[in-house]
Point group: C2
Chain length 131, copies 2
């Protein structure tokens, strides 16, 4: 027990996976949220690039391996319960979202419905190819 056990995320609490928030290290914008398992977390720390666990593809997701938009990790933080991870990152390419927006949170809830408030940095068709 002691220092070692307290210094790592409590992956058991999340059934092996915990939410990880990526925040722009420069201006604090929240870019995205994804999940990490212990392997993704360890690889993130050892490589200095954000690695998540894709629940839909059921495998490690090295962010940017297809688009080139990797996230260089500037700092890693744990919350009080050690069940959420916060990454401060430098987002290469300027866009974290697969839809081409800087942040995945590019839509604001308004009484009239969702309003796009984010800037589109790239066209997904150009990056991932036409479907």
């Amino acid at each position: 027990m002691g220092e070692t056990a307290d210094a790592v995320p409590d992956f058991d609490k999340g059934g092996g996976m915990l939410p990880a928030i990526a925040q722009d290290a420069d201006d604090g914008a929240v870019l995205m949220m994804a999940y990490m398992n212990a392997e993704a977390y360890a690889e993130t720390l050892s490589t200095g690039r954000a690695v998540y666990f894709s629940r839909s593809r059921n495998k490690l997701w090295r962010k940017g391996e297809e688009s080139g938009n990797v996230q260089k990790v500037v700092g890693v933080f744990l919350d009080c319960d050690r069940d959420t991870i916060l990454l401060k990152v430098e987002q290469i390419g300027g866009a974290a979202c697969h839809e081409g927006y800087r942040s995945c949170f590019f839509r604001q809830v308004t009484p009239e419905g969702l309003r796009v408030v984010g800037d589109r940095v790239f066209d997904p068709d150009d990056v991932y190819g036409k479907k």
Copy 2:
């Protein structure tokens, strides 16, 4: 379907609950992450104060109802998959964390273990009473 269905979080995707990130509306600090169900989300929108669903207590958690540290909601955003909610808030009392820190993410992961980097705003014993 159309506008109405697309304008709300996809709570079914998270088994009835979705993660909600609270971010300081002024300087962008990520304060905490908790969960919302549809009822918590609806009450958040109607009251303009953050309401979460406590998984440990299995009931609505009106943030600040005990400590007084409510979160006034300035803006609500959905991510591209509509399975994560981002709140921009004004944190009354200056601290979101029940341990008295401004942000729950007050510890940074370092090669030597966790390092406290956040400022403590209050002593939990004073707010919640000695255990």
